[in-house]
């Protein structure tokens, strides 16, 4: 038997010999030379008016003020030091982010202009740029539109206060045809700047905010035109009253019922949830932010841990007065996925506003009157319901309710958003 042990030993030794792969040393670090350090303003002063090749061994230091993450910039970033700011055109996309503190060796780099905006050409982030630190954020320069200097402030991170868009209702850019949008931003004195947004930006299809406020971004120029590029949509804060005093923000003015869930609450404004089912709270209406949505929506799904659970789940509106209108209609966005029961819509004129709707109130099923329920259960795209005429239901105290039903064998996911009743 000893011989058998020997054999097994040999086998295991053989195995050990094959357990490793080829090995390689890490290649050496390519040192980026420093040479002479100059300021960005000094560098821009060297621009001759036509393409200028920098032959000396210069380096510039600075902080990155834009990045490509949201798609509004492509193969370009802006950087600035205390003396000025400049645009870098990148050899390839990616690698520099807002807050990066960097050094660039610019020997043999070409400086050029595009519509009078000075830029460095073909910067190779991997080979010419040294990152010294991250998250060294620069505070934007707070100024006004008419104070912006075409030469001194170009490429600079700026913040404009008390400004508003003039073309309400439009989107930032054309996300369908991927073409750049140019939208006029004005202050209350009528000074304007064009907000340029790429069709590839992930906020290109957002509607322009209607209020007045502050906006932060990169100030650029095209010849003598003042332009402005948003670097982060969260830096657009136009939610105060406009110059003319009209309401900004929201969209609820004049609507009989308005619920967009943007506040992340199911119950704000007097909305209520009622649930019964087999597995606690599975299938209850809830705030959801993940799929196909632009901000929070209401969602119901009876699917959990690979199973479906039977449930009946109501989302009930507050009571509202329809007698104020002569031809009210209901419109909302909806989307469904996975197979299961259709979502049902009810209206009641005698609901008490607080009881469980399955036990109290006369609820009229108006599911079939909604012009457009989402039927494509493969896509997450919200569709508009179209206008559901509520004229037959004009009464002083009305409520609507969405009823979701799931069974133990199946159940769809339903999302509802922007529930509006208006005239």
């Amino acid at each position: 038997m000893k011989k058998i042990q020997n054999l097994l030993l040999i086998i295991s030794v053989t195995l050990l010999y094959f357990s490793c792969n080829k090995q390689y040393d890490d290649p050496p670090v390519n040192q980026v030379p420093i040479g002479e350090v100059i300021l960005i303003s000094d560098l821009k002063d060297m621009f001759t008016g036509s393409v200028t090749l920098i032959e000396s061994n210069y380096s510039i230091f600075g902080n990155v003020t834009s990045e490509e993450t949201n798609g509004n910039f492509y193969k370009e970033v802006f950087m600035q030091d205390l003396s000025g700011a400049i645009k870098l055109k990148l050899k390839s996309s990616g690698g520099l982010y807002i807050g990066d503190s960097i050094r660039i060796n610019i020997q043999n780099v070409s400086m050029s202009e595009y519509g009078d905006l000075i830029q460095l050409e073909n910067i190779d982030v991997d080979q010419q740029v040294v990152k010294i630190a991250t998250e060294k954020f620069i505070e934007p320069y707070e100024t006004t539109i008419n104070q912006l200097s075409l030469s001194e402030d170009q490429s600079r991170l700026v913040k404009l206060n008390d400004v508003e868009f003039t073309e309400l209702g439009m989107t930032y850019a054309d996300a369908v045809n991927l073409s750049t949008g140019s939208r006029i931003l004005t202050d209350c004195n009528g000074n304007t700047v064009s907000v340029r947004t790429s069709g590839y930006a992930n906020f290109a299809s957002d509607t322009l905010p209607s209020g007045k406020g502050s906006i932060t971004g990169i100030f650029t120029i095209y010849n003598s035109e003042k332009q402005f590029v948003i670097r982060d949509i969260n830096e657009v804060q136009l939610d105060s009253s406009r110059c003319n005093g009209s309401s900004g923000g929201g969209g609820s003015g004049g609507d009989i019922l308005y619920k967009d869930f943007e506040d992340g609450s199911m119950t704000s404004g007097g909305w209520k949830n009622f649930w019964s089912g087999t597995n606690p709270n599975i299938g209850e209406w809830e705030i959801y932010t993940t799929f196909g949505v632009n901000g929070p929506v209401a969602k119901a799904s009876n699917y959990s841990n690979s199973s479906n659970y039977a449930c009946e789940s109501w989302m009930v509106s507050p009571l509202f007065d329809l007698t104020v209108a002569s031809a009210p209609y209901l419109v909302f966005d909806n989307v469904t996925r996975y197979s299961g029961n259709a979502l049902e819509l009810y209206i009641s004129y005698d609901y008490d506003g607080s009881s469980n709707p399955s036990q109290q109130g006369t609820w009229i099923d108006i599911t079939g009157y909604v012009p457009n329920w989402d039927t494509d259960d493969f896509q997450w795209d919200l569709v508009s319901s179209g206008n559901t005429d509520l004229t037959p239901f004009i009464a002083p105290s009305v409520a609507i309710a969405f009823k979701y039903i799931g069974t133990n064998s199946n159940g769809a996911t339903w999302e509802v958003d922007n529930i509006i009743i208006r005239e």
């Binding site: 053989t14 195995l15 080829k22 050496p28 993450t69 390839s92 991250t134 799929f291």
Partner: protein, 860 residues
Amino acid sequence: MILNYFKSRFIFPLLLIFYFTGFKGQTDSSFVVDTVKNIIPVFTTTVDLLDNELQSQDISGLLQSSRDVYVNQAGFNFSAARYRLRGYSSENTRLFINGIPVNDPENGWTIWSYWGGLNDVTRYPETSFGITNSAANFGSIGAYSYISALPSVKRTGSRVSYASTNRSYRNRAMYTYNSGLNNNGWGFLISGSSRWSDEGYVPGSYYSSGSYLLSIEKKFNENHTLNFMAFGAPTVQGRQGIAVQETYDLTGDPFYNPYWGYQTQSDGSLKKRNARSRDNHKPYMTLGHYWKVSEKLNIQSNFYAITGKTSNTNLNWVDANDPRPDYYKYLPSYFVNDQGTLSGNQIIENQEQYDNISQQWQQNNPDYTQLNWDLMYNANYNNLYTQNNIGNIDSSFTGRRSKYIVEEYRLDPRHYGFNTFGKYDFNENSSLNFGLNISNYTSRNYRKINDLLGGDFWVDIDQFALRDFNDLALAQNDLQNINNIVGNGDIFGYNYDIHVNKNELFSTYSYNKKRIESFIGINASTTTFWRDGKMQNGRFPESSLGSSEKQNFYNYGVKFGFLYKITGRHLLSFNGMYKTEAPYVRNAYVSPRTRDLLVPNLSSTEIISADLNYNIRLPFLKARLTGFYTQINDQTWARSFYHDEYRTFVNYMMTNVDQIFMGIELGFESNITSTVQLTGAFTIGDYLYNSRPVATITRDNSQELIALDKVVYLQNFKIGGMPQQATSLGLKYNAPKYWYAGINFNYFRDIYLSPNPDRRTAEAISAYGAEYPYRDEIIDQTRLSDGNAVNLFCGKSWKIYKNDSYIRLGLNVNNLLDNTSFKTGGFEQLRYDASDIQRFPNKYGYMYGRTYFLMLSYLF
């Protein structure tokens, strides 16, 4: 130096095995010299020319070992052209090693390399082709093969050999020892080998493989024998990639390999590194019981376990340039506006860049033609980055975030089973074969970081989803580890198990009389499979985590065979089979990496097949002529490819794929004189698609379906990837003084590329009218030129009478005329641009040029 390293790694264990040769059982006095034919070494030249898929189709090792007059020649001479027996892919072959079924339950394939290097043991299987009366299993329509590795069955004694070659490996050392059964009923069979090359035939490829087999037999009495066997072949390979014709033309090298590049070492030297390595090791183990219940009843039962890993690496990158040298934007053709076609009027749009890049490629400047590892490392060294919002504790991490990594795709099988099969003889004319197989298979599928290439971390998010949707949750690959920071060896991206449980029963009744041999067989099986996700994917939070619904299939089959001996020298036989088979799980999910969504309309596959054979066995002529006709209907077809704009895998699924295989095989061996033999093999087939399948196209990082139920107009397209016509003629001289020499001429025709289904849809050409001149370029199938190869072989053996041992020397030269213009295969890229079909042109692989295999062996 590297070579020495490899040698020491692999030769050392062999020496150990040598050392242990004192053990000897009883010597077998009936030792017979192998016939000259069988001295021909078994090897293959097609390793890794294409994908894993095509690799799996290489069962030439099995074919060559056949004694069938056609198949033996076909296996030996046609394998270089990726010949497939009757056009079937390898799931239609059933292979057993000591009773273990070795077909992969996920896709049905038999991958010969999992036991490569054990040639001494696998050399003489019991193999039959077509529809046959198989003993261990119902069998299929391709081949049935049973390799026995019992000490009592194999030739006893030792065999040691060394081979030098210039193919995927350069050296092979092999040692096998079989004690036979000693007086106490014990027997040991051990075999081990090493195959290695620092660089193979193709630049940048390498090979290092070991193999081992241990088989212990204990015969308790006439009725009971136990056997334990373990074997495996740990193999590390640097792979060859095939490329577009433009790269071959520019570099002047039909074996240009885009997978490798130089990496500077600490001593300043440059070392070739291959980004695509394969590292496989699947140990097989079995405990078998051989039971002679009575003179009439024999039963063999086995417990078996197949474990281990299969691993393939690839580059991945984020926020950085595509590192692949043959990326279409880096080739000169990118600067040519060809008006939608190569045959159109070509306009060079940027002459300066075009000239520069062409020149660099023509000069084989590795900065242009190969990967640049130093650049990738330096990009990583320099990418200081702060990742916020990590996990649920909202921490942050600052370090060098890798832009480039080597990632590793793992598929680790855990396959356990029990089978039993036997034979009952009713009388001398009739018998019954029967069997049962219960198999429980799980594979662990995941991706891990193989090498951060000098960086500190990688963030497990999908960049494309992040940019597209601006939603952090949606971009997560693992919702339960938000912005997961991963390092070397960590799992990321996807992680799921596939389960396949299969139970099979079969029985075959045989009736043989003087002039008749016949059988009729049936089988029934149940198959259950499901996916069990280990990660919750942000794009598919409700269908990625946990067990999916189980899919059940119930299948059955019938077969029969009838052979009539017109005389003892003229035999006529007819065989037929009808069966259904569960779809393979590999094709069942539209995107198993991310979710458990099933392919629509998944159904069982139907196989209908028949063959008619005429055998001649004259003293001077052995020949077989066969006609065959097979339909394989309702197949599911699945392929994934990496789409570099989507930065993810795109999955193509087709259901309702029907195929027809029909053709003729002819093989003969004729002894012109007592020393000169003429051999020939000829096949002509017609292997066609026979339906209009429907396709579903998805991508891994979006819930959006790219296409659903798209009709693919594939009817009458040829099944690609193999010659549909092949001819071999050989002449061999067997000298009385124990040497031989021979030559074979081989000719191949009708090789087609597999059609990209999406190009054969109404949508693909909808933008172009019938008069569009380049419409045919989108639709038509590519047929490759005919090819030929001449092979030469010779050998001599010596007997040393003193100790009754033998020395043998054999040499094979394949492709003697060094024909390097024979494209043996390739594929249409699944990514295509209908408005510019040559933007993503076909990729081709060439047959190796002249190669040799020289082997010296000593048998004692």
